[in-house]
Structure formats: C-alpha cells, structure tokens
C-alpha cells in the first residue's frame, strides 16, 4: 500500500512541473498586452515600459518562468496586475467560495446521479431506464450558461423566489450557513450540478447493469441471499470505478465553473479566472490555473489512495 502511494506521489511530480510550464507558457499565446487592461488606452510607451519593468514583464519568457517557479514553490504566486493584491491571497479567498459552491453542487449531483444511476441500472432496458437516460443526456448536453440564465429568468425574474447573483447581502466575507445566505447558492449549485449529475447517472447505471450481469450475482441469488444483501455487493463492486468518476467530477466542479460563476457573479475561482482572462492579468491567470491544476492532481491522488481501500485488488496489481 505504501509503495503504491509513493509511486503515485512520484508520478505527480513530473505532472506538476509539466502543468506549471504549460500554464505559464499558454497564457502568452493569447493576443494582446497584459498591461492594456490596467493602463489607460493612450498611455505612452514610456509608461508602458516602466510598468512592464515593475512587473518583470520586460524579461525573456524563460527567465520569467524560472523566477515565477522559484517563487511559486514557496507559495508566492506574485502580484495581480489588475488589483495589485498578492495572487495567493486572491486565490485563497476565491477557492473557499468555490469549494462552498462545489460542495453543495456535489451533494446535489452525486446524490441524484447515484440514485438515478442505481434505478436505471436495476431496470436496465425498461421505460424507467430510458427516461433516466434521457434526463442524464439532457443534463450533460444542456449548456451551463443557458441553463443558468433560464433558471434566473424563472426563479429570480418571474417568480422572485431566489436571488439572481452574488454570495449574500454582505458578500462572501459575511457568509454564513443559514437560509439567508444559502438561498444565494441554490441556482448556481443546481446549474453547476447538471453535468456531473448526468455523467454520474450514466456511469453508475452502466456499472450497476454490468455488475448485475456478472455470474457472482447469479450465484448470490442462487444461494438465496436477499436483494438487500445483493445490493450491498453490487455497490461494493461498482464503488471503485464510481469513485474515480466522482473524483474527476469534483475537480471539474472546481475548475469548470467559469461560466456559471460569471452568470451568477459568484466570487469563486471561475469568476476570478474569467476576470484574469479579460484583464490579461497574467500572474493571476497563471496562479489560478496552477492552483486548480494542482487541486486536480491532488484530488486524483486522493482517489487513487482511496480506491485500494474499497477494492484490495488494485493495490495487489
């Protein structure tokens, strides 16, 4: 088990280095000048050069990367060009807000997805299965952006039941786990949960249907075990694969919420990324991408670590 984890950890190192190099260099492929958004449009070349030098943007890209990486390993991701605040501080606040939203969306997505997947898997080929599959495909296919706007139009504009944007009357710094604040996250969480719900439903359905067709299930039934006991066996056998799907989806919820957080002005990493892209705020963009990528790597490591606990065959192999 230890050897397995050590290996996984070792594999993560080159991934992290590659991710850091990619996220550093990719942003330079985008057109435009990172200072365009923070300086007046008619700023003179002298001022532009001066500010570039202040932010170290006058150096060759490889030098910038080396300096950035050197600082990043100590937790210093630089200073945002747009806001002048430390990038680590900006991401720290935003990631908490995204985690709150992702946690809520996860509960919605994983609960509904697993339940629907189970039902469909148990009734494979039936009308129920077809209906659940249709719901799942809709969840995967509907664009986030569109779904968010439709929900806002119905529940905020027409019915006036739920707020259309923001993270509460006092902003995220005044966040509390009460109805007054949680009502702000209902629409973004449902929107965010749509795709994971669909993917989990389909994955769990396939896993359950596959497991039910295995010979050991027939053997269990032949031995006279109750359906309840058989259900436990089905869950145990489906869980490792389902867990990896869930892990990927949690990472997706953290990183893939750019449009949802923008539509709902939810102050998380998605909105931060969107702002960084539009402002060409390179330090913020690089820092946010890096943190999210590392979060993804860490999450996969966690899933890898949990899988052998559920299925000992994995560590043996």
């Amino acid at each position: 088990m230890f050897e397995y984890l050590a290996k996984r950890l070792l594999y993560a190192v080159p991934i992290c280095i590659t991710v850091s190099a990619l996220c550093f260099s990719l942003v330079y492929l985008a057109p435009g000048d990172p200072l365009s958004a923070v300086l007046p449009a008619d700023a003179s070349q002298e001022i532009i050069d001066d500010v570039k030098a202040q932010y170290g943007l006058d150096k060759p890209v490889y030098v910038q990367y080396a300096l950035w990486l050197g600082r990043a390993v100590t937790g210093d991701l630089g200073t945002s060009i747009g806001s002048g605040r430390p990038v680590a501080e900006e991401i720290g606040q935003a990631i908490v807000n995204s985690l709150i939203l992702a946690a809520f969306a996860s509960v919605v997505g994983f609960t509904i997805g697993s339940a629907l997947g189970m039902i469909a898997g148990y009734h494979s080929g039936s009308t129920t299965d077809k209906m659940v599959s249709a719901i799942a495909i809709s969840g995967v296919s509907v664009p986030h952006y569109w779904l968010g706007i439709v929900l806002v139009v119905i529940f905020s504009v027409k019915l006036n039941w739920l707020p259309a944007m923001g993270a509460g009357a006092g902003g995220s710094q005044a966040w509390q786990w009460d109805w007054e604040h949680m009502r702000f996250m209902i629409l973004p969480a449902i929107t965010l949960a749509a795709i994971p719900t669909g993917i989990i439903t389909r994955s769990v359905r396939a896993l359950v249907a596959d497991t039910l067709s295995k010979e050991f299930v027939t053997a269990l039934r032949a031995k006279g075990l109750t359906e309840r006991t058989i259900f436990v066996h089905v869950v145990k056998n489906s869980a490792p694969t389902a867990l990896s799907v869930v892990g990927v989806q949690l990472g997706y919820l953290m990183a893939g919420s750019i449009l949802v957080e923008t539509v709902f002005s939810w102050p998380g990493t998605g909105l931060l990324l969107n702002t960084a892209i539009f402002q060409r705020d390179i330090p913020l963009l690089q820092g946010t991408i890096l943190v999210l990528a590392l979060f993804f790597v860490g999450l996969n490591l966690l899933v890898d670590a949990l899988q052998p606990l559920l299925d000992p065959r994995i560590s043996r192999s």
Binding site: D33, L35, L39, D42, Q54, G82, S156, E180, T262
Partner: protein, 545 residues
C-alpha cells in the same frame, strides 16, 4: 422571515435616524441631512475600482470610485443634462497662468477643506500627491497610480507650494489645456497614508480623500459600500442617500437579471436587446450624449486607399446611420463629425456628413470604382471592448453599406487588447498586416483626447496615438494654436477650426456617438445624466426609503 428582518432593520434604521436627527438638531443646530435610502449599483467593471486615489477600471472606476471619494484641483460641472460639461473650480478656487511666462500656472486652493480622516487639505498635500505619481524617489510613489495618472499630465516640469493655499506648477511648454489635464489628478490624504504604515495596500482598506463620499466597506472583487461625507465642503453636494453599494457585474445578462429581480437598483450598460423588456417592466432607461466617438481611423501610409479624399467622403456618405441607430435600439447618436453637433467644438464644417448613396456612388465613380469594380479595403475591428458598443453588428452594417458604393471590406477581427496594442504601435507596424483602418472608439473628454492626439504629426505612433501616420502642417499649426491660446473663447474658435478640418477632409469615417445607457428602478430619483463619462451621484435618492 425576510419581511420580519426587513421590518426589524427598518425599525432599527428609523430609530438610528431619529436619534441622529435629534442629535443634529439639538446639539449642532444644523439642518438634518435628507437621508434617502440605499442605492445598489451593478457596474460593468470586472472588479471594484481601487480606492487608492488614481483608480483603475477606466472611466467607470473614476465615475463611481475616483470622483466619489477623491477630488481634483479642477472639477466638472455635471449639474445639467442639457449643456456640454465645462470645467469648474474643485479643490482649487481658481487658477491662472503667468502673463509673461505661459508655462507657469498658479492654483489658489480652497481653504478649510478636510480629508475624511480629519487632516487639512493644503498646498503641501498637492505637492505630495503629484510626487505620488511623478517622483519615483518619493516614499509615496505608487506604480499603479502613476500608471493611471502620469500620462494625463505629460507636460508637468516642476511644482511647489508657494504657501499653504497656493501651488505653482510649471509645464515644459505653454499648454492652455493644462486645466483639463490636472482635472484627472485626484488628492489622497498624506496623513492617512502615514497612518496606514506608509502602505498603499493598507491605505485602500481605509482610504481618505476629500470627496462627498466616504468608503465604509471594501471587499475586492465583490463590493464597496460608500456613505455620505457629512462634513463635505459643499453643503449642496452632500449625498442624499444613506449608502451606495457598488457591485462589479461584468456579465450584461447578470446585470439585467439582478435589476429585474430587485437585487440592484441601477445597472450600467444594459444590452440593447434587453431594453424593450426593461421598459415594459417599468424600469427607467437613462441616456445622454457624452464625449465618445465610434469611428474608423484611416491609415494614411503610402498606398492606402483612404488617401483619396473622394473615397473618404464617399464612405462617409454611404453609411445608413439611422438604420444603425434603429439596430441598436435607439442607443446611439448619428455622428456628423468627431464630436457631436451639440458640442462647442463642432464649428461649421462645409462637408455635411449624411446618408447620400447617389452622391457617394458619384464620388466613387470619379475615383475609378464601382460596385462591379470595387475598391478592396481591410479593416481591423474587435468583437467587443470598452466603449466599442456593438462592434460586430455595426461593422457588418458598414460592410453592407460600403459594398453598395463599390468598397469591398475584409475584416481582420482581433481581440480588443490586440487591437489596442496595434493602435499604439501604428499603421506601419508589422502587426497591422496590411490593414487600412482600425476601429477603436475614442474618449473625447477634452480637445487633446478628442481631436489633437489622433492627427498631430508629432504624435505619430509609437510616440503618440496618431495611428494612421497622418501629416498635415496646417493641422499641426491649429494644434499649436489651441495649446497657445489661453483665452477660453478664442481657444474654442481654434478648436472649431480644427474640427472643421476633420470633417471637411473626411479624415475619419464618422459613424456614431454612444449615449451611455443605464437602466434603473423607478424608485431611483434625482439623477441628472450629464453629457459626460462622469456623473454626479450626490443628488440621487431612493423613493420610499
């Protein structure tokens, strides 16, 4: 539950107000401030403008944060929607230039003005603030504020305090437009900066200016809350609201939804397609012409098809601006020049910019082109961008209109920042890639930004923003004439001559002026939309609160 909370808040607020009123009447014997509720504004900015003084987020940042918390020596008269905005005394009660040495300006400061922290505004504070953006050796020098402010005052050579209430500023050359430039530079409190540990990062958490608003809460990326500065020096401009909440909501659909669901009372730049439904739902759409122009800036380098005045005039006559206005839901003013006809600077050009396809075709025929033998041009445009209105739709209409008279347009669509980078680099830069025009909307707050910077041959890119390499000694003389004319009435005449030259030579493709639309709840009262990028928010109140 919500209603109960609301009632409790209102009861509490009433109690606090009543107590304050009694205190004000009984102890101070002063007139009570007419408190008028909370205004929640959804800005189109992607972040809360920095409350450091020389704020970011462009004109919107200055509109809501810069000129709310801080003030400059020279202000703008934003009190009327009917007349063009003029300069008025701000923190300086007056200014003059030395009759013998036209580079020497004297500003007499308003006495008794205090910063929000209670410290006194003096000539030393002015010098300190100029050092903040111009003197790299000063402890308070701030790169961010310098980036925003230094370019606004390019001609300052030196400055000093003559006494507590007089400042002298010397410019590198005589420049009659200096008051326009200094109107950009706002004053932060030196004492508060000291109290903040000499750190601008700390200062923004508790900023201090002399403006009519004070900052009470600042959460980066999320919100800022401003409350009235009841000790403001101009009693007529003490805000009527209890509070103003600024929220950055960059997505236009989110802004509309927030307004319609009652989460905010005011949104900036509603999308044109949302206007009918907003009007139907009882929301008020406010708009007014302001110093903005949406043109095609022609390349005048050798070989450019726009070097032929017949082609330039024909293009200006081919644009169906009324159709474009209809396409934008009425939210534009049809351009007849670089500045709107209502501007003092418009003058009386002989060439009338209008929609006259027959005359345009005649000019094109004279130039040797027709629909069957079209002139090929390449135009740099952007899909979006600050001040760009609806660039794709507008440019597609222009493309259709120009095709009618024998000008075939190929678009080079670029990201807004990429377009700006090329605009700074100039038409001869490799990044122009053979394009013959660029489509950047222009801020035209003063004669320099409106007219002079685009065509002055001494400001050819990258020295300045004469993107098209236009060179005309006569025009340069007019530019010098404006800088050298210190009598405002005479100066206007020279500016008019410059604008007439713009129009008579069809130096740009004049298309549209934006009208700064904003939508608000009918509860919002007292707002007067001035013909400007900046607005006075002090008379605004919320009915029923």
């Amino acid at each position: 539950m919500t209603n109960q909370l609301f009632r409790h808040r209102r009861v509490r607020r009433f109690g606090v107000r009543a107590a304050l009123m009694v205190f004000a009447l009984g102890v101070l014997g002063a007139t009570p401030v007419d408190a008028g509720g909370t205004l929640r504004v959804a800005m189109s900015a992607s972040d809360v403008p920095l409350p450091n003084g020389q704020t970011d987020q462009g004109a919107e940042g200055m509109r809501f944060m810069g000129y709310s918390l801080f003030e400059a020596l020279v202000g703008y008269d934003l009190s009327s929607r009917d007349k063009p905005v003029t300069l008025i005394p701000g923190l300086a009660t007056g200014w003059s230039v030395d009759a013998d040495d036209r580079t020497r300006w004297t500003f007499k400061l308003r006495s008794g003005v205090k910063f929000h922290d209670g410290s006194l505004f003096t000539a030393a504070a002015v010098v300190w603030n100029l050092d903040k953006i111009l003197n790299k050796d000063a402890a308070q020098y701030d790169t961010k504020q310098a980036g925003q402010g230094r370019g606004r005052v390019p001609t300052i050579a030196s400055y000093k305090a003559i006494d507590d209430s007089t400042v002298e500023i010397v410019t590198t050359k005589p420049d009659a437009l200096f008051p326009y430039q200094i109107a950009w530079i706002v004053m932060s409190s030196p004492a508060q900066w000291e109290k903040s540990g000499k750190s601008w990062d700390n200062f923004i958490k508790n900023p201090s200016g002399t403006g009519p608003w004070k900052l009470s809460t600042y959460t980066p990326r999320e919100r800022a809350e401003l409350v009235p500065n009841n000790a403001y020096w101009d009693a007529n401009r003490i805000p009527k609201l209890d509070k103003m909440v600024l929220l950055p909501v960059p997505d236009p659909s989110a802004r509309v939804a927030a307004l319609r669901s009652g989460q905010v009372d005011w949104i900036e730049a509603p999308p044109p397609d949302a206007l009918p439904s907003l009007k139907d739902a009882g929301f008020v759409i406010s708009s007014n012409v302001y110093p903005h122009v949406w043109p095609w800036h022609f390349s005048r380098v050798e070989g450019s098809p726009w070097n032929d005045i017949r082609v330039r005039k024909a293009a200006n006559l081919a644009i169906d601006r009324a159709g474009m206005k209809s396409l934008l839901g009425g939210l534009m003013l049809e351009a007849q020049g670089q500045v709107p006809p209502s501007s003092d600077w418009f003058g009386n050009p002989t060439f009338k910019v209008r929609y006259d396809v027959a005359e345009a075709k005649r000019l094109m025929k004279e130039a040797g082109y027709s629909k069957d033998n079209p002139l090929q041009v390449k135009a740099i445009i952007s899909p979006a961008g600050s001040g760009q209105m609806q660039p794709m739709v507008m440019n597609e209409l222009i493309q259709q209109n120009l095709a009618e008279i024998g000008i075939k347009v190929d678009f080079d669509v670029r990201d807004w920042n990429a377009l700006l980078a090329n605009w700074r680099a100039g038409a001869k830069d490799a990044t122009t890639e053979g394009a013959h025009s660029t489509n950047s909307s222009y801020f035209s707050q003063d004669p320099f930004t409106a007219l002079m910077r685009h065509l002055d041959s001494r400001l050819i890119a990258p020295k300045g923003t004469n993107w098209g390499y236009y060179q005309d000694p006569e025009l340069d003389k007019l530019v010098d004439g404006i800088r050298g004319e210190f009598d405002p009435a005479k100066q206007v005449k020279v500016i008019q001559k410059l604008h007439e030259r713009y129009v008579d030579n069809a130096l740009f493709l004049f298309v549209a002026h934006d009208v700064g639309p904003r939508a608000m709840s009918p509860k919002v009262k007292g707002f007067v939309q001035a013909q400007n990028w900046f607005q006075d928010l002090t008379p605004v109140s919320i009915e029923g609160e």
